[in-house]
Amino acid sequence: MIGRRGCLRLALFLCLAVLCVCGSTLAQSGGELRFCLHSEPKTFDPLLVDDDSSLAVRYLTAGVLIRSNRRTQALEPELAESWKVAKDGKQITFKLRHGITFSDGSPFSSEDVAFTIQRLMDPALHSPTGDAFRSGSGAVSTKIIAPDQISIVFPAAVAGLDRLFDQVAIMSAHSPKKTAAVLGPFMVAEYKAGSTVLLRRNPNYWKKDSQGHRLPYLDSIRLDIQPNRDVEMLRFKRGELDLINVMDSEYFDRLAASSPGLAHDAGASLDSEFMWFNQVANAPIPEYKRAWFRSTNFRRAISQAINRADMSRVVFNGHAQPAVGPVSPANKFWFNSKLQAEPYRPVSALKLLQSDGFHQQSGFLYDKSGNAVEFSIVTNAGNKPRERMAVMVQEDLADLGIKVNVVTLDFPSLIERISQKFNYEAAMLGFRNIDLDPNGQMNIWLSSAENHAWNPQQKSPETAWEAEIDRLMRAQASTADEKKRKESFDRVQEIVADQVPFIYLVNVNALSAVSNAVQGANPVILAPQTFWNAERLTLNATVQASR
């Protein structure tokens, strides 16, 4: 006899079993996920990807050896079962998984990895992904140890070597389909220029869920090419789209007001907004202004006189955080936690200026030679948040008696002024950081770099602190020891906070939208924010039936 309690247990067990079966049926039920790309993908060759739309397609279709988990920021094995980086940082050895085939059925082996690396490092290909691996002169060699084991040797140490493989899509060495043969969860099935990219599930995808069901759950993903954000929002509200990957705060708040459950704020992203002063020695600006801009006290004072908290609250409706420095606090490993965002301190700012000989008279600020302090901030036209930030800086600095002229220019004219003619005084721009590793910022911090915005392409460092940054950046790039690299880059962040070559303003939050139809979504700060786990996303049955 089964007692009453036993009956209850049995009923509970049966209910759970039914739920599990239903759940797994639902997970396997397929369907088509829909969202927008904001521009045409420039290429479907995964090694030539350099734009957001192509990046999205690559993320969904490519198989990589190592994947950086977008939520934990930790590295996870994918096609490689395990890997080992040599102590000198010049060599990495992969142990590959068995029994994996490309979407066209051709088998995956170390030959494919060798082929991909040789193609990636071919100077004639000009692969943007390959550039990150170029650490020194000399060729990169591959050594196939076994069909499931391969070693790659670089001419010099590559810092953060394993993390770079997150971007390397493994291509087939033998498939006649070439780039169309993929190892990722989806494959490109159809492309209508200016309209749609249709991805279908890869029937040979190797990954399975915990219950042994082959991933991905979705049958297809339709990427509509739609540059207009208003249209994207309207289509999302009408239920025609399931995701909006990146939103600005205005759209986000509008959506949050009408459908709070659909809007997701994942917190501060890696992206930062900042301004800087022109310190180029031969720039066509008055000598007295160059002297202001080259004064550390002047730059510090301006930084202290800007109310970042107000900026975050007013311009981004609270969906931004006052920025600390070149690394966002969202970058868990590389952020120097000893540093804090510069607080709003107008009184201290005025004292700093006075220590440099500036003085106030009739509400205006003058330097020690009697020149009224006035400068222009150039920024790109059409970017509303940036224009508003510039106007807030204008008002904050007016309190110190500084006159700021805000000038918005079309992007090509702006770039020409700040990187070729150097005919500007201050500039405000944003930095879209997709790389967690500081090596991605080498082209900004080295004094000889083109993107060393405040004073680029120096033959030798013009200041002691720039020389020190050069040394530290090179030191962190030339070792595989993560601890030593972190120490060096922490010091770089401290120097930047002290010398203020860039005045960091805010880190914008990662804002996205996910419809109720999508199950399993967990928006994060790293790109691709909403579909980083696309292989495990499902759609509810009602939506599938309606499509």
Partner: protein, 268 residues
């Protein structure tokens, strides 16, 4: 019609007076940021609420009206005078001059305006005050906006050249500039007026569009163009109807200007 014209006069005078009295009607000014109240709804303190930076929208509408009402007609005047010079004279002279002028205006109309304006803006100095920048903006618009009007005027002047009364004047011994000034130009007046009034809203809207490209009125100075830019991305008017005030004001003022035109000018 007389009542409508009287009403139009009242509107135009009232709007002009209000914009001139902006300092008194909106003492907070157009640039002051009330950062604790961004995008606020209308209240006793802010009659039309505040914009995204917390600036009083009522003050910005008044100051913006002052700028646009002063500078858009000035730009329209510049462009109409240029159109009269090129189109009127070419139509009056006829023959090769007319063909040359039409070819030139066609060429000018086919120029990629926006790229031209972007180039002009890129060449301007950066450290100019917002007021100077707004004057430059409208002046450039005036200089570049004459071609379409010139096309219309050349056709009208061409028709006048072959009209009976001009033939009679010629037969009576009237030639050259005198014939143009005494008989042709007065008859072109309705067309000139019409082109002038038509140009005003065109320039206001052009300035709004140019703002997106960086050639508009520099911050923090407001203009109708920059105020209309606030409507960008506005999905529901019902939620924030007060944001439509600049648009309604533009419609009311321009309609009033049209009503002030005499019948024959309207017909032209």
């Amino acid at each position: 019609m007389i009542v409508a014209r009287k009403f139009a006069w009242v509107v135009v005078v009232a709007v002009c007076a209000a914009s001139l009295a902006a300092n008194w009607l909106a003492p907070t000014g157009y640039a002051k940021q009330f950062r604790d109240a961004p995008s606020a709804t209308p209240s006793a303190q802010h009659l039309l609420g505040t914009d995204e930076l917390g600036r009083d929208r009522f003050a910005r509408v008044l100051y913006g009206t002052r700028i646009s009402l002063l500078l858009a007609p000035a730009a329209a005047l510049v462009s109409t005078l240029l159109a009269a010079l090129v189109g009127g004279l070419a139509g009056y002279l006829g023959g090769i001059w007319l063909r040359l002028a039409r070819g030139f205006t066609d060429l000018f109309l086919s120029l990629p305006w926006l790229f031209l304006l972007i180039t002009v803006r890129a060449l301007l100095p950066l450290n100019v005050s917002p007021l100077v920048s707004v004057v430059i903006t409208f002046f450039i618009l005036g200089l570049l906006g004459w071609a379409a009007s010139a096309r219309v005027l050349s056709t009208s002047a061409d028709a006048l050249r072959n009209s009976d009364f001009v033939l009679q004047a010629r037969a009576s011994g009237l030639h050259g500039p005198r014939l143009f000034l005494v008989h042709v130009l007065p008859n072109l007046k309705p067309v000139l007026y019409a082109q002038f009034w038509i140009s005003i809203p065109v320039f206001i809207l052009s300035e709004a569009n140019l703002g997106i490209l960086g050639l508009g009125v520099a911050e923090p100075l407001p203009s109708w163009g920059s105020l209309l830019r606030e409507l960008e991305g506005l999905i529901s008017f019902r939620e924030e109807p007060w944001r439509l005030v600049p648009l309604l004001l533009l419609i009311v003022v321009l309609t009033s200007f049209q009503l002030l035109l005499s019948n024959e000018e309207v017909t032209a």
